[in-house]
Amino acid sequence: MDRTINKNYQIANSYYNRGLELAGQRDLTGAARYLKRSLLFNKFQTEARNLLGLVYYEVGEAGAALSQWVISLNLKPQDNLAEEYLQRLYKAQSYLEMADQAGKKFNQALNYAQNDNQDLAVLLLMRLTGDMPNFVKAQLLLALLYMNHEDYTKAGRCLFQVLKTDRMNPKAQRYMTDVKENTGRAEIERRKFKNAFSHRQMQDDDIIIPPSYKENTGLQSVLNILVGLLMGAAVIFFLVLPASRESINRRHNQELQRYMEQLNQKSITIDELNSRLAEADAAQKNAEDSLQGLLDENGGVLSQYQTLIRILKAYQDEDMRTAALLYTNLDLTVLQDGVVDEILAWLIQDMQLKGYQELLKMGDELLNQEGKAQQAIDYYQRSLKINPTNPQALYQIGLAYLKLNNTDAANQYFGDIIMNHADSEYARQAREQRGY
């Protein structure tokens, strides 16, 4: 058993050594493969795990790197290089935030790309690879999207960047083959390769001209210089200028894109602030309305409580008339706050029992006086407010209107009694008044 375990350690070490060698040659994919195998044979092979984290970090996978280093430190808490890596990473908060954002953006872009939203994916990846050119996965995805749009030159640039980071990345090499085929680069390379290694048998009549041999005249030299100048100008015009123009355009586009994003961010912030301002305004108005409601002289809560107190005082003074009059001014809906429910219940019951009759009496007294019919109507109406189905109050209002020579209004009240209170004693009197 011990021998087997020792053997496993040896295998793990061998794999680690091979991984280290490949990492040194910048074959990061190959290195990662061997390091994983090493860990499969010995999970405590700390160097392999730390190096695997470094490989992940180098290809822009900060999350995976963190994960390996944390595991490494857990398995070997003392004398472990992973501790230093983690400390450095946590100190560089800005990098950590950028790496976090990069992971999220990549996943978003991948989602876009896999769901037929390639333009958005390209935009996101362009920005992402601009910030993190060594993010291999992002460069590969961007290259694939460019290839799908048949923009092989841009795809080639992304793949070049990948191969700079991970020299033998198999996916990048496979894509690059395709790019070269489509840009004609493969043919050029094939020709160069053929010329470099092809040769033919020397024939007897072949002449070898030494490189130092020149047959130039003065005029030819001038012509050569002119041709050289022209070629130089052509190179600048056809090769250098378009490249620099493209570079400037690209920079401008990136800058424009950055500004657009900043502008969008600002717009969102402004919208949020406006929304908060509107909420604050609404809250202020609400508070003002509530305060106004409390202070309002007629319908306000304070005013209603004052009226209630005055009613109770009138009860205390046994002044039922004042109590009934004040009751008709009371807005019961405002006072239903649970504080005075019991008092109100008692008051309503008492008013429906006695209060409305007091008001009727007050109306009758005024009706018998000259020129006070209108005031009498007011008391009858208040009585009706407490007891709306009392035909006596309706009848008295009718009589008051007759006194005011307003037969139409009087008939309306008499009609109401005949129609709605046909069984009451006032129905007969109302009919008489109407002349039935």
Binding site: F41, N42, L66, L75, G103, A113, Q114
Partner: protein, 45 residues
């Protein structure tokens, strides 16, 4: 010639920094020694 759909489907999401804790919890740390020890135990029983 590459098959775009096939290639795009092979891409896997990147491990986000915020998801590291969960990834560590789910990491299978079993190595050959663990497996061999387990087998020995079973055989002895």
């Amino acid at each position: 010639m590459l098959d775009f759909e096939d290639e795009i489907s092979r891409f896997k999401p990147s491990l986000e920094v915020g998801a590291v804790e969960e990834a560590i919890k789910q990491e299978d740390l079993t190595d050959m020694n663990d497996l061999i020890t387990e087998i020995f135990k079973t055989v002895k029983e």
